[in-house]
């Protein structure tokens, strides 16, 4: 019964809060919603990208329990014979997975083409065919110029069974007749709708992989353990080949991008943190404003716990509304983030395709929405703990006594400032700790301590600065008087204003910290590119820049082209750059091979110690390797050590000649001479040809000659002929794309901080209605009232900006030296982008004044008589 009454009281109070203060309630709910939307969007996009990848892997895998993969180098198809005889293997199926480009007119679309043994697998992979009769279809399947096209793709391209489409593939253009349409056998996925399938033999011909496979899919006996069979298979396949469950590919991708996802997720929480400040602010004012009401509740018998519960429940309801709105907005934002995230992951890690909207099942969406709502409520309730406790502790006699709203809650700014100082010291100590399992946990904790420490210092800045800023004596100018009133008022509420300043400080700190980190990183990458990418022209395969697509044939060129290119007038040197991914001590590492002597003459690597040219020549001389800084740190090796690699010729140790800085991937890189690589991996393909021109050669003319000569060779798609400047631009575009997501999340945090300022100033205006009405009664005009509110905004903004500059600087150091270093291993050379910082400060100042403008206009419109009646 008591609980029911309490709920009734709660409902009444909530309704009053919402209807009496719709602006502030709205601002608070929007603030929470924005914070929730950022975290829901990032979480949803992360889950969606991984789930899509996993679904794609598992759908195509069908009943497969083990996969044998040769990575980018592929497999010799003869392995399948040995594998079939392994005990426990029930069936084995060859697979080719490549990318082709469908082309018609100006329109192009990359499509994944799967080569399968259709005679054996047409019923078992989870797709069904529509179109021709089964007999004629099977017959047609063996024709190398036929294809089964996903129903969705066919509809998009307006083609049907019996028509022919042109496929651009690595070795050239092929016209394929559509002999059937694919659709998913169940309604659970729509993956097959967007794939193309060929018979394995046809795929080998079309993709120039005769005798080779990308993968062999195994189905193991049910009575045998999968791992047991995997061990047996490993014993009969070459050591460079991997044998694993299909699901472990998802786990690998998950692990690979863990640091990236974690950093993005943590950044998305900043919005929640700032939203928490907003809630604190709203609830603190609600408690102050309803002090008398609290006194009445307490006087008529409401317990302290109930009073606290009342305010916590109110915050929970605001959080609920914010959570609901934020989840909905988060899903909308996630639709865009999925594209951004999958593009970034494809650029940096593995090709996973570019997502097109959300593909998550409804149960996942419900789960994520529930999480968002829970987070909204939790953040609101945590933010309101302080004010609620304050309300509960209010003594009825004091609460009922006349006086200022804030009389009952004087803040101990000195003690809080001391706490802030201790937190800052703790932040320094934590920044020196090592990562835990590759995760910079102490770095994150240090960031939290830094921001919390500065937040605790904010109230003392409000009160101390007041004493410092107000000139002594009689203020005999209008500006002086206005400033004095504004500053005095701001400093009368160090708690609430401190929180708003903290919100601004956090927003600006994040803005400056991330800006310094990104600009420094970009500067470092620019130096790295300009010092290491010296070739005048890069001859690359057609799909080289399409980082999002799977398959190796569109990403390599024949080694024999080196001679062709060398013979073109104006060409001085042609290097042969090969980049393949292999597993090194459980990590996916890039093995890069090239002619180190040519590179030593014409270009350089940014080595950690010594001279690039001599180290490269030495590596070529002694069959040594150069290792990227990230891999060296991960494997704890340095110059002079040796590194063991599993090659097709067996395990072998290589002397580490040098360690070099590399910013292309956080997965690590090993560089060796092409001669050494070919002798071990027996791979004649080249990923790109860096071409150096004679001094004075005409770049465009040489490119024209190259295009002509290479088209003469025929059979292949025309390669990309990228100039040095174009390549540098592309690298920086990828870089900028990677950090676009960061800017989006940062902007959300800043917007919430601005809402905090608006909320504070609206609160301040509400609280000062009598004072403002008095001023108007004695002759102050709208402009002067507006100025007063703007002065207060400027005062709060100035303190927030000051603290934000300190926080931003410290955060930049933490991000560059601790979090980034521990997460990815990159050494970033710090620069101070003064222009960018000034812009951020200008933006914060302008946003503060804009945030102050709305309440200032509102203040000037309020009734004078009502204002004079306010207590």
């Amino acid at each position: 019964m008591a609980a029911v009454s309490f709920l009734k009281v709660l409902r009444l109070i909530l309704a009053a809060q919402v209807f009496q203060r719709p602006l502030r309630t709205g601002l608070t709910v929007i603030g929470v919603a924005l914070g929730v939307s950022a975290s829901v969007a990032v979480r949803t996009a992360n889950v969606d990208v991984l789930r899509s990848f996993e679904q794609a892997v598992l759908t195509v895998a069908g009943p497969t329990t083990l996969e044998i993969s040769g990575g980018e180098l592929g497999l010799d198809e003869r392995i399948i014979t040995a594998v079939r005889n392994v005990p426990g293997v029930r069936s084995s199926a060859p697979v080719i997975l490549q990318t082709a480009v469908i082309e018609r007119g100006d329109r192009q679309e990359a499509v994944q083409v799967l080569g399968l043994d259709l005679l054996a697998e047409v019923e078992s992979r989870g797709f069904r065919l529509t179109g021709q009769s089964a007999d004629r279809r099977l017959e047609a399947m063996l024709d190398p110029h036929t294809i089964l096209l996903g129903k969705g793709l066919a509809a998009e391209w307006g083609v049907s069974v019996g028509e022919t489409i042109d496929l651009q593939v690595g070795p050239g253009s092929v016209a394929c007749k559509i002999i059937g349409l694919l659709e998913d056998a169940t309604d659970r996925t729509a993956l097959w709708n967007r794939l193309a399938v060929m018979d394995i033999a046809a795929a080998q011909v079309v993709f120039g992989m005769v005798g080779r496979l990308d993968r062999i899919d195994l189905v193991t006996e049910k009575d045998r353990g999968v791992e047991e069979v995997a061990q047996a298979v490993r014993a009969v396949v070459p050591p460079t080949v991997t044998v694993e469950r299909p699901s472990s590919r998802t786990a690998q991708v998950d692990h690979m991008m863990r640091a990236f996802r974690l950093n993005v997720t943590v950044l998305s929480w900043v919005g929640l943190l700032v939203g928490m400040f907003l809630i604190y602010n709203t609830m603190a004012f609600a408690v102050a404003q309803r002090r008398r009401e609290i006194g009445i509740y307490r006087a008529i018998g409401m317990t302290q716990a109930r009073v606290a519960g009342l305010f916590l429940s109110e915050a929970a309801v605001l959080g609920l509304a914010g959570g609901l709105l934020g989840s909905a907005a988060g899903f909308l934002l996630a639709r865009e983030l999925v594209k951004l995230l999958s593009r970034t992951i494809s650029d940096l890690y593995v090709p996973i395709g570019v997502g097109n909207g959300l593909a998550l099942e409804s149960d996942w969406l419900w789960r994520l929405a529930s999480e968002g709502i829970f987070v909204g409520c939790a953040v609101s309730m945590i933010g309101s703990v302080g004010p609620s406790m304050n309300a509960a502790r209010t003594a009825p006699v004091r609460a009922l006594a006349p006086g200022d709203y804030e009389a009952g809650q004087r803040l101990r700014v000195g003690a809080l400032g001391m706490g802030g100082f201790i937190l800052l010291v703790l932040a320094g100590v934590l920044s020196m700790a090592d990562p835990v399992d590759g995760v910079p946990l102490a770095g994150y904790a240090s960031t939290l301590c830094l921001l919390a420490g500065l937040s605790c210092i904010a109230p003392i800045c409000v009160t101390s600065w007041r004493r410092g800023i107000r000139p002594p004596g009689f203020q005999s100018t209008m500006g002086g008087i206005m400033r004095a009133i504004a500053i005095d008022h701001a400093s009368r509420n160090p708690g609430r204003n401190g929180v708003s300043i903290s919100a601004l400080m956090v927003g600006l700190s994040i803005m400056i910290g991330v800006l310094v980190m990104i600009k420094s990183f970009r500067h470092t990458v620019e130096i790295w590119v300009s010092e290491t990418v010296m070739a005048d022209v890069i001859v690359a395969p057609s799909l080289w820049l399409r980082g999002t697509e799977a398959g190796s044939t569109g990403r390599s060129l024949p080694g024999s082209w080196a001679e062709v290119l060398s013979s073109i007038p104006g060409v001085a040197e042609v290097d042969t750059y090969r980049d393949v991914r292999v597993a090194v001590q459980g990590r996916r590492v890039a093995i890069v091979s090239r002619d180190l002597r040519i590179h030593a003459r014409m270009s350089r690597y940014w080595v950690r110690q010594g001279d690039s040219a001599s180290q490269l020549v030495r590596a070529a001389d002694i069959d040594g390797v150069l290792v990227s800084e990230i891999l060296a740190d991960q494997l704890r090796i340095q110059e002079g050590d040796s590194l063991e690699l599993v090659t097709p010729e067996g395990a072998r140790r290589f002397p580490v000649v040098a360690v070099f800085y590399d910013y292309a991937t956080d997965g690590g890189k090993i560089l060796m001479d092409r001669r050494l690589y070919q002798s071990l991996w027996r791979d004649d393909l080249v990923t790109v040809f860096p071409v150096y021109l004679d001094r004075g050669a005409d770049l465009d003319l040489v490119r024209e000659h190259m295009a002509a000569r290479l088209s003469d060779i025929g059979g292949r798609l025309p390669p990309l002929l990228i100039s040095n400047a174009e390549l540098r631009k592309e690298v920086l575009e990828i870089f900028d794309r990677t950090f676009l997501l960061t800017y989006v999340l940062e902007a959300i945090a800043v917007v919430i901080a601005m809402l905090g300022i608006v909320n504070t100033l609206v609160t301040s205006v509400l609280e000062r209605q009598r004072e403002l009405a008095t001023l108007r009664a004695i002759g102050a005009g709208d402009r002067q009232i507006g100025q007063l509110v703007l002065w207060e905004a400027a005062y709060l903004g100035l303190i927030g900006i000051g603290l934000g500059l300190v926080g931003g600087g410290a955060l930049a150091v933490l991000l560059i030296q601790v979090i980034n270093k521990q997460s990815f291993g990159w050494t970033i050379h710090t620069i101070v982008p003064l222009g960018g910082i000034l812009q951020a400060v200008g933006l914060a100042a302008a946003a503060t004044l804009v945030a102050g403008y709305v309440p200032s206009r509102w203040a000037a419109r309020q009734s004078i008589v009502e204002g004079l009646r306010e207590e």
Binding site: S476, I481, D488, I778, G779
Partner: protein, 269 residues
């Protein structure tokens, strides 16, 4: 509560602001004497909406006050005294009727015009003093002068003069929180008169003071207003305070019901 007269009943019903209509007759409380008129009210009404009901605070009041008059308005709580003062000060808008201040009709006045009127012509003393807590006594007194854009030297001279007049020079650097009620009201009077307004509106200036302080404040107010030849409209509950005035108007249910000229017999309206 609804309707004291037929006109108000119509207004009550529709709660609308009517245009001013110059109707002859029913000239409640019009002073027939000739001379310069400082405040003229014509059929002034004010109706509030309170919780769904309409409340008539002022009902078709006509009033004519000469320059230099010291008038007091008395009556029970809720009779419309403060509403009358608020309307004359432009702090609130009438539902109907006309206010003429210093010969100027205020019908259709914008916010800015009312602000200018208060800045130039009107000074207000409040019951709750309403000093700006952030400012010292002298800064509070300087405020209306600074709002008028007066020069620093003039402001300082006038502030010194006013503080001297109200006897607050020794406490000039104190903030309102450090002053007693009587002292705060002295500063408020100095602030109200600092810009030499021709019309002083005082809303219960002794309401928050004890009788001794109240008497002192009324004496001060009378002395200063007389010296400055200001017209004073005083709203008060206190008979003693009202005795200071030249004319005492009694209000009831939003209407002026009686006028007493201190030197003559009461006139029933």
């Amino acid at each position: 509560m609804l309707g004291f007269c037929q006109g108000c009943a119509v207004l009550n019903r529709y709660a609308i602001r009517l245009p001013v209509r110059a109707k002859p007759g029913r000239q409640h409380g019009v002073v027939e004497d000739a001379g310069t008129r400082m405040v003229v009210l014509k059929r002034l009404s004010k109706i509030y909406a309170r919780g769904g009901a309409l409340v008539t605070a002022l009902c078709e009041v006509d009033l004519d006050i000469k320059e230099g008059d010291f008038c007091a308005f008395v009556g029970p709580s809720g009779c419309g005294k403060s509403t009358l003062l608020n309307l004359v000060a432009g702090l609130d808008q009438p539902t109907s009727g006309e206010i003429i201040l210093d010969g100027r009709s205020t019908v259709g006045f914008s916010n800015a015009e009312w602000t200018a009127m208060r800045r130039e012509t009107i000074g207000i003393v409040f019951q709750a003093f309403h000093l700006v807590p952030a400012l010292t006594a002298e800064e509070n007194v300087a405020l209306p002068l600074l709002l008028r854009g007066e020069g620093r030297r003039d402001v300082m001279k006038r502030v010194d003069e006013m503080l001297e007049m109200v006897g607050m020079s020794p406490r000039r650097s104190h903030r309102p929180g450090e002053l007693s009620g009587g002292e705060q009201q002295r500063v408020a009077i100095a602030r109200a008169l600092a810009h030499r307004p021709r019309l002083l509106l005082a809303d219960e200036p002794t309401g928050n003071l004890d009788s001794h302080q109240g008497a002192e404040i009324m004496t001060l107010l009378k002395t200063l207003a007389t010296a400055g030849k200001q017209t004073v409209l005083l709203v008060t509950h206190s008979r003693h305070a009202a005795q200071t005035a030249d004319y005492i108007w009694t209000m009831q249910d939003g209407r002026l019901v009686a006028r007493i000229e201190r030197t003559k017999e009461p006139v029933s309206l």
